[in-house]
């Protein structure tokens, strides 16, 4: 009985739930897999298990009251969300902020980008079988960043640090020594990860050529961030539509070649090095002045609409704010990067094995807080 005979024996589809409570779905995401043995025939994603109706809630919060909610969107990179939202409202009010506040925002956002990428790399390596070691290494480094943020704004995860028109507190004394020490420490650690993980044979075997995302498919699905750059598209908002002081800082954009899971990991690893460079330059060029906000907390922008997008660690976070002259936004739409990055998953996964879906999900680095809003 040779293989041609094994083909025409029909095998039934096996339906299984990779459901909301699963160690490697990075949050409450439910994937319904149609399997033929180990091969995945079809995968439909069910999201909405963390839908906290942020947009409905935003219509009953003043512009300043909504800032803490943006922390809970992409709760691993809260500084970047704060910055995105606050810059959108400032554009609505066409408000200028002091130079020092701009530099502080860049430093905080880039440090949070490093912390977010560390979690992405740690959980990706854990999903590929390196059980706890890389995750605990990455969390050890992340704790150092958390200490810096703890000193700057007093919180570990949801900072609520940025205000419309500036930041809440000025940088405490001696924080730049601490950040400089961290940058030197982190550079040696990133080389360790490169040496430990990147060219490890098991790691390569599990993630090379898995989840190939071609360039035009990525753009068509409006995938953004490291996932898009890993597919070879050199597109980064900090360089192509510079905001704050990014055009004054010199850094380059890591780009992958063929957009597989290994490339996405490698782009994130390189981006940590670039972010360290940015923080170093921004710290050096930090001007004097008072970054805190002097104007009141109730803003009544004139009726208008704006759309502003910023480069989050996971992609382009966009805020579409429509104001009607009152202190409450008429409509606030949050364009979340993980929402579009996740939409690619069912297409990447067809024909692969179950273990590969875990690898692709880890490499796409999605986060359910901002997917479900």
């Amino acid at each position: 009985m040779n293989t041609s005979q094994t083909k025409d024996i029909c095998t039934e589809e096996f339906l299984i739930n990779m459901g909301p409570q699963h160690p490697s779905t990075h949050g409450v995401l439910s994937l319904e897999l149609k399997l033929d043995g180990e091969m995945i025939r079809d995968c439909t994603a069910h999201i909405g298990y963390l839908h906290r109706s942020m947009e409905k809630l935003a219509e009953n919060r003043t512009y300043t009251q909504f800032i803490p909610y943006t922390d809970r969107l992409d709760y691993v990179a809260s500084m970047n969300n704060n910055m995105g939202y606050v810059m959108a409202v400032e554009k609505l009010l066409n408000l200028e902020i002091s130079d020092r506040a701009k530099y502080i925002r860049v430093i905080a956002a880039e440090l949070n980008r490093i912390a977010s990428h560390l979690i992405a790399i740690g959980t990706f390596a854990q999903d590929l079988g390196a059980f706890a070691t890389p995750l605990f290494y990455c969390f050890r480094e992340r704790e150092k960043i958390i200490d810096i943020f703890d000193q700057i704004c007093g919180n570990r995860l949801t900072y609520n640090y940025m205000r419309i028109g500036g930041v809440q507190f000025d940088l405490p004394k001696g924080i730049d020594e601490k950040i400089k020490k961290f940058i030197k420490y982190m550079r040696s650690k990133v080389d360790d990860y490169d040496w430990l993980l990147t060219y490890n044979t098991i790691f390569l075997a599990r993630s090379k050529h898995i989840g190939l995302l071609p360039k035009d498919l990525a753009i068509n699905y409006s995938v953004s961030g490291p996932n898009l750059r890993a597919s070879g598209v050199k597109w980064d908002l900090r360089k192509d539509e510079p905001y704050l002081v990014y055009e004054k800082l010199e850094f380059d954009i890591p780009v992958g070649e063929n957009g597989d899971s290994w490339d996405r990991y490698k782009v994130r690893l390189e981006e940590i090095r670039q972010s360290l460079k940015i923080v170093e330059q921004a710290l050096g060029a930090l001007p004097e002045g008072d970054p805190t906000v002097k104007i009141g907390r109730i803003h009544k922008p004139s009726p208008s609409e704006i759309y502003l997008r910023t480069e989050n660690p996971r992609g382009e976070l966009g805020f579409f704010i429509i104001s009607d002259g009152s202190a409450y936004p008429y409509r606030l739409k949050i364009r979340s990067p993980s929402f579009s990055n996740l939409a690619v998953l069912p297409e990447l996964v067809k024909g692969l094995k179950i273990a590969d879906i875990v690898c692709i999900l880890g490499s796409l680095d999605i986060l359910m807080g901002e997917t479900d809003r």
């Binding site: 459901g19 909301p20 409570q21 699963h22 160690p23 949050g27 409450v28 909405g48 298990y49 963390l50 839908h51 906290r52 109706s53 409905k56 809630l57 219509e59 009953n60 919060r61 803490p68 909610y69 922390d71 809970r72 709760y75 691993v76 979690i119 995750l135 605990f136 969390f139 050890r140 992340r142 704790e143 958390i146 570990r156 995860l157 949801t158 359910m368 807080g369 479900d372």
Partner: protein
Amino acid sequence: MAVTERIPASKLIQRIPGGGVFLTTSENIFKWGKASSLWPMTFGLACCAIEMIATGASRFDIDRFGAGVFRASPRQCDVMIIAGTICVKMNDCIQRLYAQMPEPKYVIAMGNCAISGGIFYYDTYSVTKGTDSLGIPVDVFIPGCPPRPENLLFGLMKLQEKIRNEKDADK
């Protein structure tokens, strides 16, 4: 009976005079065993899950309290740490998971959202206001948004105290 008061080991164990033999009731051994090896379920919903992972990581190290073994399936878990916002779509999943846990089971509601809906109490149509409204008996509430890892560890110690002091008929 104040839960905070901790039964000293000496009351649990009596020593036979002149010998190295100790006497204790089997119930106390079970309580000691249950209290010091609480296996939590990997059940992160939202931001509190990141703090739970940070507690499990090397700096705060939940393993010192015997609770570091995060099991994925409810069949092997003793405590369900609800870390994050419970949404309407997730209601019956949580109730099913709680029901599928074997009997000596405990629930820790971590974070304001798990206690009462937290900052999503007002104006949201899709957030259930707290774990109690699901009909799940909660043993320890840990306030905070998200609670710092030290709070989670303190909540765990409170649960361990509760287990040590609970009457035999409870669980």
